[in-house]
């Protein structure tokens, strides 16, 4: 008693099987190709066929297999996104922007949290290329040599969106961290602050943090002011770190009259600490922030900050990728989405 092919298949899969196009075709009394066309290219099939196929699909609960489709057509509908920290709330807006565009176009999003390390980013890139993603969005703008080579070989469209780098892998959709930090520093100087401190995020393996510090220093130079190392700190993100930084600066460098925090969470931590200690902001010390968390508008006093188009960056990144994939665009794009200084009461 020889087993039929279908029986073997059932055994192989542990007693259960998913229905295939072939099953739909058999039941509808048409060929597999007609089913394929009825589903993916309805116009190429007669109305009658379309209805007959749809009916069977409904009836047996057929779920098309996109893995097979992608393999066969050499086209995937998945985009890979790699962020240094999914915990960081600022990525949420960007992800939402990407996600909105993709789901409107039948694409899906795979997300990897690489941590701060470049090597981990490389691993995530490898994994995504193995999944044959149709495109990549990277937040980092620096990468390992291997990662760069792999991306080049894969010929996958890539958008970097953490910083408006001058030397992108492919396309870049972002704002200039350097210019933003420089602009805020000049702004504070224009407001009359003489001793502007800068609290940096950890710069190791973080090109954005390095660019922000560079912007601050460039502004000082333009102003003809000397860099004062007592006014420059580096702290990991966090409310407590911000609180600790403001206390540290006021106590060890009492000449300080303004503090520019390179991260919003740091700035909020600082302003809340000032409140607790009864230090007037901006009376005793002014505080400025980077990035426009919703919260900044609600603390007392509301924080002067730099608004960054996070959602827009996500949206445009995804659009840019889809354009490349569809062949609508062939040129690399370098899109500066700008920033905006929001003047509130803290500085």
């Amino acid at each position: 008693m020889a087993k039929s092919a279908d029986q073997k298949r059932k055994q192989r899969n542990g007693g259960t099987t998913t229905s295939r196009m072939r099953d739909v075709a058999r039941k509808a009394g048409v060929s597999v190709m007609t089913v394929s066309r009825a589903l993916n290219d309805p116009d190429k099939v007669s109305k009658e066929m379309r209805q007959r196929v749809r009916a069977v699909v409904e009836e047996i609960g057929y779920v098309p297999n996109r893995l097979a489709r992608s393999l066969s057509s050499n086209r995937s509908n998945v985009i890979g996104l790699i962020v240094p920290s999914i915990r960081n709330s600022l990525f949420a807006e960007t992800i939402k922007g990407i996600s909105d565009v993709l789901s409107g176009n039948g694409y899906h999003l795979m997300i990897a949290d690489s941590g701060p390390g470049l090597l981990e980013e490389e691993e995530a890139i490898t994994a995504f290329l193995q999944q044959r993603v149709a495109g990549l969005v990277l937040h980092n703008t620096s990468h390992t040599p291997t990662a760069i080579e792999m991306i080049a070989n894969a010929k996958v469209p890539v958008v970097e969106n953490g910083n408006l780098t001058a030397a992108p892998l492919d396309s870049v959709v972002s704002y200039s961290n350097y210019e933003a930090a420089r602009a805020m520093t000049l702004h504070l100087a224009r407001m009359g602050y003489k001793h502007i401190a800068f609290v940096s995020l950890v710069r190791r393996e973080n090109d954005r943090a390095r660019e922000r510090l560079r912007g601050y220093l460039a502004a000082l130079a333009e102003l003809g002011r000397k860099q004062d190392d007592a006014l420059i700190l580096e702290r990991p993100s966090g409310f407590s770190a911000g609180a600790e930084a403001v206390v540290n600066l006021v106590e060890t460098a009492p000449q300080v009259d303004a503090i520019f925090f390179a991260g919003d969470v740091l700035a909020v931590g600082a302003v809340l600490e000032c409140q607790r200690r009864g230090w007037s902001v901006p009376g005793r010390v002014a505080i400025a922030s980077f990035d426009d968390l919703d919260m900044l508008r609600h603390v007392n006093p509301p924080l002067t900050t730099i608004r960054l188009p996070r959602y827009e960056i996500g949206r445009r990144s995804a659009e840019c990728l889809l354009d490349r994939i569809a062949g609508r665009a062939t040129e690399r794009v370098s899109l500066d989405l700008k920033f905006e200084i929001i003047q509130r009461e803290s500085a």
Copy 2:
């Protein structure tokens, strides 16, 4: 002049091709299966072969095709996650927990932001089943009938993690929204508050919000207190909404002496508004929150709240799924990760 198969393939793909196992095999002078084994099951191959294969892989930059692998082996290494709002920072912790477990096990994460709608969730489920994900994590615990049926047919392991529902689709890893809200209400009563208001999140299509309100009402009943509709509000999440709610309650129901907010952002908005107005917290009105955003510890006064094991929920959800996939567990799991009331100064 007949074209070779490889020439045709090159033409089909627009002049470029990715290398295949076959190419590695040819160059290494071994069979395709040896390459496959050398890569996926190194122990089953002699040391010499392993080295020869690895060398060629390096040399030509071969990137395995996981789509083909998944199709052929009927096993995928992708897990799908559907959340109602990626913007909501509370998901970040859970996602991180999932992501940490998955990447340690060679799995990857696809994320869909379905919005609050059940129909959109159904669409996302369909899409994931088409991608033949190995498992699903859903935040919602209510679903459309079609979604339920599709999941049953697909025989994919599923973990729901937004609420400890009594009737899960499959497994559930969460805490009880009902019990948490009930516990906090009783706690506030024990502290001596007589007129405890409740600010709910929008309940439409949100089972968690409904459960929280139910918990509050159950506690009132246990306390022998009458439900006072003037003390129950429903608001969308947001700092402004929280600020507006506290003002509304204090002005229209001046007997209120404590407000329990069903969302952390609302509570922070409220406490900041009290600060601005010089209303003493908890002197004029006590404030309690739900969910332990880092920020709650840093506002003035620090907020009494319910700590939820968000990261742990993610971690255990993923572990549960992987256990099911690997066949290590066959039983449905119903895991209560509990909550904890954090007593601070706001109530």
